[in-house]
């Protein structure tokens, strides 16, 4: 089964076309890195795949489920890490995990939560309120969520932003673990050096069109 199948997808705001006629497939076990200049529509495409926005034309499926008509089913198997951390300032790290996982119908045990926090390097801050977290710590907590939720498709919007060297290593390690269990990762990024360490395929979204890249082309400077 194809993880993400995009067919003739277009998005426009009024007369302004963000992108048009995008078609591509991503298979389970692949990490797809989407590059492109600011305003090219990377985040818009990601938000459409995350079922947060509807496409203007075309359609897409996530593991065989239609992304518009069956979005409730799609939402059970995807997880998005976006610019906003989706964390509540007044709750602690542990409470945020309990709440986020609770809304997915999961109840991780305290040892599981502790392990996830330890793996992302913020185990010592389990009871600290998010209000006191730095941007990098929030990002790590987002990744702790994915360790517990184990989504089939992980959508990442600029995953390396705000992360230090260790944070980047942890992120790529978690992406690799997602791929190892036949999960799929779709990320938008400007950081080619970090993304190419883990991406198996990619694309450049520019001028409303997508140029697909193989893993070899990802490391070819002339293409970028």
């Amino acid at each position: 089964m194809i993880a993400i199948q995009v067919s003739n997808l277009s998005k426009a705001y009024g007369f302004y076309r963000i992108f048009e006629d995008l078609s591509f497939d991503i298979h389970p076990g692949e990490c797809f890195a989407l590059f492109g200049p600011n305003g090219a529509g990377k985040t818009t495409l990601l938000r459409i795949l995350a079922t947060l926005q509807a496409p203007s034309q075309g359609h897409f499926t996530i593991f065989g489920q239609d992304g518009v008509a069956q979005k409730d089913t799609v939402r059970e198997i995807i997880m998005l890490i976006a610019h906003g951390s989706h964390l509540y300032d007044e709750l602690s790290a542990t409470e945020n995990l309990q709440f986020a996982l609770g809304l997915r119908g999961q109840t991780p045990s305290p040892p599981q939560i502790k392990r996830a926090l330890d793996r992302t390097g913020i185990g010592a801050f389990a009871d600290l309120k998010i209000r006191q977290f730095s941007a990098g710590m929030k990002k790590r907590l987002d990744f702790a969520k994915t360790i517990l939720a184990q989504p089939q498709l992980l959508l990442l919007d600029e995953p390396y932003n705000a992360l230090d060297h260790d944070g980047v290593a942890i992120t790529n390690q978690l992406i690799q673990e997602t791929l190892d269990r036949a999960g799929t990762v779709f990320m938008t990024t400007h950081d080619r050096d970090k993304a190419t360490q883990i991406a198996t395929r990619g694309g450049i979204l520019k001028g409303g069109h997508l140029q697909l890249l193989s893993s070899e082309q990802l490391t070819t400077d002339a293409i970028f």
């Binding site: 995350a50 079922t51 947060l52 409730d72 939402r75 059970e76 995807i78 998005l80 976006a82 610019h83 906003g84 951390s85 989706h86 964390l87 509540y88 300032d89 007044e90 709750l91 409470e95 709440f99 986020a100 609770g102 809304l103 997915r104 119908g105 309120k129 998010i130 929030k138």
Partner: protein
């Protein structure tokens, strides 16, 4: 996805956040205290007039205080784009709505229970025998306001002028609840037999059911749009 567990998680999250900040409750209480003081001074010379109008005064204070709380219900979801995570979580959206209604209902009713003794004190009301009935009336009317107010709070949260739009949209729809609440409260405070004002309580129950059911179905479309 477990429906009732989702309701429980949303209520838990809203209550724990409010307990730690006391942001909503304190602003509601402060506003309500000012309203009570203003009305109390306005009618200090004419206690008879006050007693005639007290049911209306109580519900003006409760409704506008409730609007303050309802306005904050979804603005807390804007921090760190949490609204986005509610939108794309696989939990039933109706359960999220009911969780929000339950939390708003608890905030509003708690403030009303704290404020009512002040009305009794300032307006010299004799309420001993009517306390039970009043609690039922307050609960039913507050549920109606919370049911429709939570929906409009979600609807207006992304609008820049949400503080203005929420009361503008909510108050016309809340008028039937307010009228029924005022009439039932007047009957209870006057010591009338229950049968004299029971039709207003029945009307409150009907409004609660209609508002909750309609808002429950509309909430998913509002959250997704």
């Amino acid at each position: 996805m477990p429906f009732f567990k989702t309701i429980r998680w949303v209520v838990w999250k809203d209550l724990i956040s409010e307990w730690r900040t006391r942001e909503t409750m304190s602003s509601m209480l402060f506003f309500a205290l000012i309203v009570i003081l203003v009305f109390s001074f306005s009618f200090s010379m004419d206690q008879d007039a006050a007693r005639q109008l007290i049911a209306g005064i109580i519900w003006v204070a409760f409704t506008f205080t409730g609007i303050i709380g309802l306005g904050k219900s979804f603005t807390s979801e804007l921090q760190n784009d949490c609204l986005e995570s509610l939108q794309m979580c696989p939990a039933p959206k109706g359960a999220i709505y009911l969780g929000k209604v339950a939390a708003n209902f608890l905030f509003m009713l708690s403030v009303e229970i704290l404020l009512f003794p002040l009305f009794v004190l300032f307006f010299n009301l004799d309420v001993i025998e009517a306390v039970g009935t009043l609690l039922i009336i307050f609960s039913l009317a507050t549920l109606g306001l919370a049911a429709v107010g939570t929906l409009f709070s979600a609807l207006t949260v992304q609008i820049r002028a949400r503080e203005v739009m929420l009361p503008v949209l909510l108050l016309p729809l809340a008028i039937p609840v307010m009228i029924a609440a005022v009439e039932a409260t007047r009957g209870a405070l006057s010591g009338d037999p229950f049968s004299f004002y029971s039709q207003w309580i029945q009307l409150l129950i009907i409004f609660d059911i209609i508002f909750t059911v309609v808002s429950f179905w509309l909430f998913e479309f509002i959250l997704d749009s």
